[in-house]
Amino acid sequence: MSYQSTVSSRGDGFGAQLRAEWTKFWSVRSTKVCTGLGVLLTIGLSVLASNAGGTDANNQPPFTDRFSLVYQPLPGDGSITARLASQANSHEWAKAGVIVKADTSSGSTYAALVATPAHGLRMEAEFTRTVASLPGAAPTWLRLTRTGGTVAGYTSPDGTTWHRVGGVTLAGLPATVQVGLMVASPSVVETVKAAGGSDTRGRATIGRAVFDSVTVQSGGLAPWRQVDIGDASGGSLSRAGGAFTVTGSGDISGYGIASWVTPGNDDTVSNSLVGLQFGLIAMVALGIVFAAAEYKTGIVRTTFAASPRRGRVLAAKAVVLGATAFVAGLLASVAAYLAAQPGLHSNGYNPPAYPHRAITEPTVLRAVVGAALVLGVLAVFGLAISTLLRRSVRSLALVLGLMLVPQIVGAAVLSLGTDLWLHRLTPVAGLAITQTRQRFDTAISPWGGFGVLAGYAAVALVAAILAVRRRDA
């Protein structure tokens, strides 16, 4: 007289666990409240921060024209040729080469063909145009030819076979221009973290280059003279035989030229996503409560009695939670980014110092989607810790402490070096994925940082799975 169940089952596969955990998760009102609050606060804080203040980066000069020039006039068409024999590595963006410049005043138009210690040969013009960039370094032959309003650049390994690098038409080029040799070497910019902000200061470097075989075609009668253009310092010329040894500091650069250091150093993308700080609290709390509630109410016994394969239950929980937090996080980060842009624009974050960056731009997309990934992973991290500790309060104290305290302590009291290490070693590293420019406070690469956070979450989740399998429920 034994009884058999009359109810059919579609089995206890992972899909069944997912459906069960999803029902459990979403059928509680506090889940929806917490998720919704997280999304709204994220957007709200981003909008608030975007309106909190402006930048004067576009009020700064859009170019720099400070370098050491050795020159003579060139009436009408003609060319300057020189062999750059050597260049000191005073700065990765030190420049040495030949130049055609309208006159010796700072800001006059120009075209230059220069070598750099670390970034190859470059032909640049008008503070805005990179005509060409190609591999190469001293020693090399360089030539600029002026024909009417056009300047063309050539390089040669030996002074006989010449290769055309590019040409550029300069607006407002006078009949007689100045041609010659140039040497520049930018300052090293050091940013020092200070209480509540940062100080930026420059340390000048002096570049040095040796030229020989210097010839000016259809000119060459006037004597060579050296001048420091702009407020550059440290320029000099010494001649020995046919060799010109030139020193100088500064840079000739502007927006559109790779060596340009923009006066605007803010990462507008990560600043737009600053609301993430609220989002992460909400998602961590969501994950922690999801697990702790089972222990608090005793439902965990019902759960494990219904699904004795506990590791899979926890895995299903993590998938449901992580996916929800990711989707909510994506909604929040996309909305926060879009909502923050008008505020930034009205506060002076505009081109050229701050080009407007579309959300579809790959690095922006990485930051925005990455923010959502961080929220998903953090929720799972919270879930795992709370499964291990079985209490919501101590789990919140631990996980939020790990996420919030390093950010505060680092900014408030630590030296920059220690601060950077905290941002590499704690789960805070994950927030690096929202960064889109290298700054003094960049601690770790975007994906590297995300990897650190994911590592924390993975270790905690594995530990939690082992614990629930071993522990009495």
């Binding site: 009884y3 169940s5 059919s8 089952s9 206890d12 029902t23 459990k24 009695a305 004795p308």
Partner: protein, 321 residues
């Protein structure tokens, strides 16, 4: 009384039952279960009785694979619980009626359970109907009375229509009407051939419900017996005597080797002597008596006798070891 000897092998069988064999479980220093062996058979209600702290809930958790035994085994139809693929179709349980999320609707509580075992959604409505919660299915469980929570828990146990059902103290917090409802439910479930395992710390709750009893105290098996045998054994051939001269009767009977206990102003309970011997002795001695009858113990009394030495938390308990 047919107490199973500890260590007697229980043969594995495919019929729906619960088998517990030589179970030991301790938490830290506390021994919760100490060598428990018993079988719960289909087609009857098996009561699981013992004072608070006797190890009943622990045993049930071990049967469900929630807690690991230190040694010994517990199986469902011959298989360990944790090897079951869709356990809700094998064993239905009510462990703790309070174990529902206060913010979750009754229906959703059953729905996630159904999903976890791949059971059809329609079962949720069926069991809600069975326990009479259809009208409040969309209310959040936080607003439920204890009785409603018990019904919700029982609905969860019935979800997979399982051949084995385990209820831990299901009568707690129920009103008399609810108690009657649950008794009838248990009887009818057993009548369908299911094995029903119900725990209680009060024998009276099981008196009219259980067919079989497993009595535990301090984690040990005290009795494994049918209710009828237990009642018979509890009477123990004792005799109730009504007499106006209690003192004389006690003296006379005690001298004849009986154990005599005064249970009322004119009532004695006598053990160790059959009724006709008592009548003879008193008649010879001229002690007046009005009635001599076989003693009929209540199940409660039998249980109290059995567990007297194993009540852990009673006031003046003496260490018996």
């Amino acid at each position: 009384m047919t107490t199973r000897a500890a260590g007697e092998p229980s043969l594995p069988t495919m019929e729906p039952n619960i088998q517990v064999h030589q179970l030991h479980k301790r938490y830290g220093r506390t021994v919760a279960v100490d060598g428990l062996t018993f079988t719960v058979r289909p087609g009857q209600v098996t009561g699981f009785v013992g004072p608070n702290g006797a190890g009943k809930s622990t045993t049930m958790r071990v049967i469900l694979g929630l807690d690991r035994p230190d040694t010994g085994t517990a199986t469902i139809g011959g298989r360990p619980y944790r090897s079951l693929r869709t356990p809700l179709r094998e064993v239905g349980t009510l462990l703790d009626a309070a174990a529902v999320h206060p913010g979750r609707r009754a229906r959703d509580h059953l729905l996630w359970m159904a999903h976890s075992n791949g059971l059809p959604r329609s079962r949720v409505d069926t069991v809600l109907e069975m326990v009479g919660l259809t009208d409040v299915a969309r209310r959040r469980a936080g607003g439920f009375s204890l009785g409603m929570r018990q019904r919700l828990g029982i609905a969860g146990a019935l979800l997979g229509d399982p051949p084995v059902l385990m209820f831990d103290e299901p009568v707690n917090g129920l009103d008399p009407e609810g108690i009657r409802w649950i008794r009838n439910l248990l009887r009818s479930l057993a009548g369908q051939g299911r094995a029903i395992f119900v725990s209680s710390h009060l024998m009276s709750e099981l008196e009219d419900t259980a067919d079989h009893l497993i009595v535990v105290g301090r984690g040990r098996l005290i009795a494994d017996t049918s209710v009828r045998d237990m009642l018979a054994a509890a009477s123990g051939g004792r005799v109730v005597l009504r007499t106006k001269d209690r003192a004389a009767a006690m003296t006379r009977l005690a001298n004849a080797g009986a154990t005599v206990a005064a249970t009322g102003p004119d009532e004695l309970v006598i053990g160790g002597l059959p009724a006709d011997r008592v009548v003879n002795l008193l008649s010879q001695a001229g002690v007046p008596f009005s009635e001599v009858a076989g003693h009929r113990a209540s199940l409660e009394q039998a249980y109290m006798d059995l567990t007297r030495d194993s009540v852990e938390f009673s006031g003046a308990v003496k260490e018996s070891r």
